[in-house]
């Protein structure tokens, strides 16, 4: 069964003339890693907020792990189950010591102190910040802060984490740290929804979903989605440079067995063409 199942979801913000979500139907399997793309105002962030009941659809239904997000009775269970990581790391840390920050979630859930200790340690080890557990968050780099924010969510033992542009404010090193952490979560079987503007991050997903004007424009495996270079360019979206080069070469008459998504794949294909 799908972990997330949205059917014909519509939502309009107050004072707005247009639907932010205009009939989105979407299924995400347990343990799947999906990337949501699209430019600002396309409805990606609104979609993310519907997944943990911060926004309840005006029309249509969203089920998370079999629970209806519109049902007040299960709101807290859904929020525990679906964690949300936002863009700005500085807005997400609340305590003055890192391990206390990570403990904030489970404490509020009423978890036993001994169990909290275990969860905090495990979460910090997962994101690679255990050695910093007694440090103050304000002295960390952006990437480290984001990893602490992720640990805070892991301590609540969610089965899904939604990331809303988690690397937009980070430098290349910070971005890599966060992406490595996301891959670790994926290996642990956690369902991941990643909203991003970076195509090199989106290509790591099992499935890419492109949104436009509150609707799904296209979706599929990264290779399939990014090979539609014309469609993406028409909607002012980027494609990886490797893919773009291959696309142009195909236009010039070359034949490739598949579309490259990164430097390595592109070089292999070029070498094949040249040999």
């Amino acid at each position: 069964m799908s972990f997330i199942s949205a059917s014909s979801v519509k939502y309009r913000y107050e004072d707005s003339e247009k639907n932010a979500l205009n009939g989105v139907t979407l299924k995400v399997n347990k343990g799947e890693f999906v990337a949501l793309l699209g430019h600002n105002g396309c409805g990606k962030s609104t979609m993310a907020k519907t997944l943990n009941a911060l926004i309840i659809p005006d029309e249509g239904m969203i089920y998370v792990d079999g629970m209806d997000t519109a049902d007040d009775e299960v709101t807290y269970e859904i929020r525990r189950n679906v964690g949300l990581v936002l863009q700005n790391p500085d807005n997400q840390l609340v305590a003055s010591i890192i391990e206390e920050d990570v403990a904030f979630g489970p404490e509020n859930l009423g978890v036993e102190p001994g169990e909290i200790r275990k969860r905090v340690d495990t979460a910090l080890k997962t994101v690679g910040m255990y050695d910093y557990r007694t440090h103050a968050p304000h002295k960390l780099s952006g990437g480290q802060k984001q990893r602490v924010a992720i640990a805070g969510i892991l301590a609540m033992q969610p089965s899904c984490v939604v990331f809303d542009e988690p690397t937009a404010m980070l430098d290349p090193n910070g971005r890599e740290e966060v992406m490595r952490t996301i891959k670790t979560l994926k290996k642990k079987g956690i369902t991941i929804v990643l909203i991003t503007h970076y195509m090199d991050e989106a290509v790591l997903a099992d499935r890419v979903i492109v949104m436009e004007k509150g609707e799904i424009l296209t979706q599929g495996e990264p290779e399939k989605v990014f090979s539609q270079v014309n469609l993406l360019k028409k909607h002012s979206l980027d494609v990886p440079q490797s893919t773009e080069l291959a696309y142009k070469l195909i236009g010039a008459g070359l034949r490739f067995s598949k579309m490259p998504l990164n430097v390595q794949e592109c070089i292999e294909l070029l070498e094949g063409a040249l040999s």
């Binding site: 430019h39 600002n40 105002g41 404010m169 090193n173 090199d200 490797s242 070359l254 063409a273």
Partner: protein, 287 residues
Amino acid sequence: MSIIEAKNLSFTYGLKTPFEKKAVDNISLSVNEGEVIGLIGHTGSGKSTFVQMLNGLIKPTSGQVLLEGADIWSKPKEIRKIRFKVGMVFQYPEHQLFDETVYKDISFGPRNKGLSESEIDDTVKKAAKFVGLSDELLKQSPFDLSGGEKRRAAIAGVIAMDPDVLVLDEPTAGLDPKGRDLLLSQIMQYHRERKNTIFFVSHSMEDIARVADRVMVMSKGRLEMFDTPKKVFACADKLESIGLRVPEITKIMLTLKDKGYDVSDSILTVEQAFTEVVSLLKKEGKL
């Protein structure tokens, strides 16, 4: 002619305390009028400290900043004048919007410069036009604009001061690809018309490759390289050793060259790479 020069410029935070940290370490360079300088380096490499010394927001611990040949700190009381000549757009400039309307916000700088009302009006409209804000938007509260519009309004506020040197600290951070392309092309359009000097700090090697005449590479406070994008990005190994990378397309072509194929090592755009690969394929009789 050189418009701005750094001579043995250094800055140390927390001098004579246990937290002493050299942020900028003996940088000397000279930038010509009308050049676009890209500045790259990972977090903590001293980029921001360096650019803040250019308009006197930070006073060097040692060394000099020369603007049109004169030390900007020769008359410390007049340092404010330097800030009209060297305009600074910080990261996330939209956080600095404050006034009731976009118009008033943009006019804050020119008003403080002591311009007359009609001059102010002229300047504000010109600056708004450069960044593509419509007259309609000027009447709105800056807080009702979209993210990309806010960013452009904040940049217009600095452009309205008509600086000879414009410093942009990660102007496209957090924008979507469409907003990023639009903002970059507007900044470059402004640059072509105004012919001023621009410092452009960015983590995006692709953006730097597109706009810069020369690239400064900083690491641990030192200036590691200062050359044309083609020459800088040809040194992929060196850049990677200090935690930076080259644009994806450059990396592809450099790897092909390493493998013995006859391609240029100074490819910066997909178009250039395409032309290069096509001519190679034709030469080898594969196309």
